[in-house]
Every structure is written in structure tokens, then in C-alpha cells.
Symmetry: C2
Subunit: 114 residues, 2 copies
DNA sequence: TTATAACATTAGAATATTCAAATATATAAT
DNA sequence: ATTATATATTTGAATATTCTAATGTTATAA
């Protein structure tokens, strides 16, 4: 595998490494949406949304369709949502681990049962 | 979904957003490895590898086992590799798209067949 | 107990990202 | 032509990340 491929992969993950961009993707799961729609769903100002959309588009994660004065964004490859699902699962596993750890710690702190 | 969850997800992806960290994960696919092993496989200096390992560990993506004076790193949740696989697939799809685009552009530049 | 090997941490300059505000562009409606 | 709406881009200060080199720490071996 050529060395640069990992650079591209890193760039790809960098595109996902922002809370607003994650939220945008989650909103686009249902299908394409205009900037205004995204903006009002996320309750963010126009400029921020536009900026983050442009990052996702720049990394080819989103694609656009122009209709009149509106621009509709959608995922270029729906597999991005599979990726988010796996991330969620990994995340849940981790949380469960943490909870187990916490309850273990709690048990240690409990007075011994008599 | 609570708002902070997207922050955690973003942090998670941020951990993957670095070429060296991607390379480390790819090397750990086969199983646990010591810092020295990773270091020599990647041909990087000790400090850099240690720093990046610490990022991955800090985000709970890697876990460690101590044996004598060595420390062995491994994936906490093997599902991380599924995630990398999906990323690779998305990436391949994209490259294919680019190639198609390129060859289309090439065709446009060709003189018309007579 | 000293030396060495394996690893971690710190420090600080260089670089990249984020954020908010302002400005720019394009289309549609009047 | 002018205005309003939808979106994009620019700018610069604030913040975060990266990188390299140096210094710390811990366990083992001599």
C-alpha cells in the first residue's frame, strides 16, 4: 500500500472529526436537504453550516444538486452511514465497558456484606 | 441523542485523523505489538510513535499490556478494523469515480472518430 | 549500584483548524 | 433595474495539533 494512501485516509477521518459535521451527516441520513433546512434543523448560523458543508464537500463526502436558488446536499456514498453506525457501536461498547468499570469500582467501595 | 455524543464521536474520528495513527492501526491488525516493534515496522523515531500511541490510547482505541520492560499495544475493540475496512471501501469507490471521471475527460479531449 | 534498554513526557516553535463577522455572488421576484 | 433570498467565501484572531529534540521513568542485567 503506497504511503500516501494513509494520508488520504487521515484526511477523510479529519473531515468527520467535528461535531457539527457529524450532526450534518446524521441529518442527511434521511436524504438530501438544502442548506437552509440543515441550518434550521441544527439551529446554527448560515455561515458556520456553509463552512462545514464545504469541508465535507471538499473531501468528497457530500455532493450537491442545484435547484433554483437552493442547493441540496446529500451523501456521495451512502456507505458513510455504515461507517457512522460502526462508530456508534464501538462507542456503545466502550460506554458499556466504562459502566462496568464504574460499577466494579462502586462495589469495591461498598462495605462487605455480612 | 444528547448533544455531547457528537462531540465524543468527533473526538473519536479525530484520533484516527493522522497518517501515523492509521499506520499504527494497520500494523496492529495482526495482533498486539510492542512499541519497539511498531517503531521499526513504521521506521519512525521512538518519540513520535510513543506520542501517537498515547493519543490512540487516550481515546480508548488501544489498550496496553506490560511485560517486563516492554509494553504491548493492541486494539481495545477489534471492530475498529471493520471501520477501517469500510473507510477503505468508501475510498475505493471514490477512486473509481475519479478514474471514471478522468477517462471521461480524456475521451472528451480525443479527436472525434471519423 | 550502575548501566542499559524500553518507553513516556515535556517544551516550544511551526502549522493547521475553528469561529464569528463581514462581504460576495447568483437567482428569483417585483 | 432593484430587492430579497439562498448560499459561498474571506478574514483574522483564538485555539488546537504536530513535530523535533531533550529530558524523565522504570525495569532488567551486569
Amino acid at each position: 500500500m503506497p504511503y500516501t494512501l494513509q494520508n488520504f485516509k487521515a484526511e477523510f477521518f479529519k473531515a468527520l472529526a467535528h461535531p457539527v459535521r457529524i450532526r450534518i451527516l446524521e441529518v442527511l441520513r434521511e436524504g438530501e436537504k438544502s442548506v437552509t433546512e440543515i441550518q434550521s434543523l441544527l439551529e446554527l448560523d448560515q455561515s458556520s453550516v456553509s463552512q462545514q458543508l464545504s469541508v465535507l464537500r471538499g473531501k468528497n463526502i457530500l455532493q450537491t444538486r442545484k435547484s433554483g436558488t437552493s442547493i441540496f446536499y446529500s451523501a456521495r456514498d451512502p456507505m458513510i452511514f455504515d461507517l457512522l453506525d460502526i462508530a456508534r457501536t464501538i462507542f456503545n461498547n466502550q460506554l458499556i465497558g466504562t459502566q462496568e468499570l464504574l460499577s466494579q469500582l462502586d462495589n469495591e467501595k461498598l462495605p462487605p456484606a455480612d
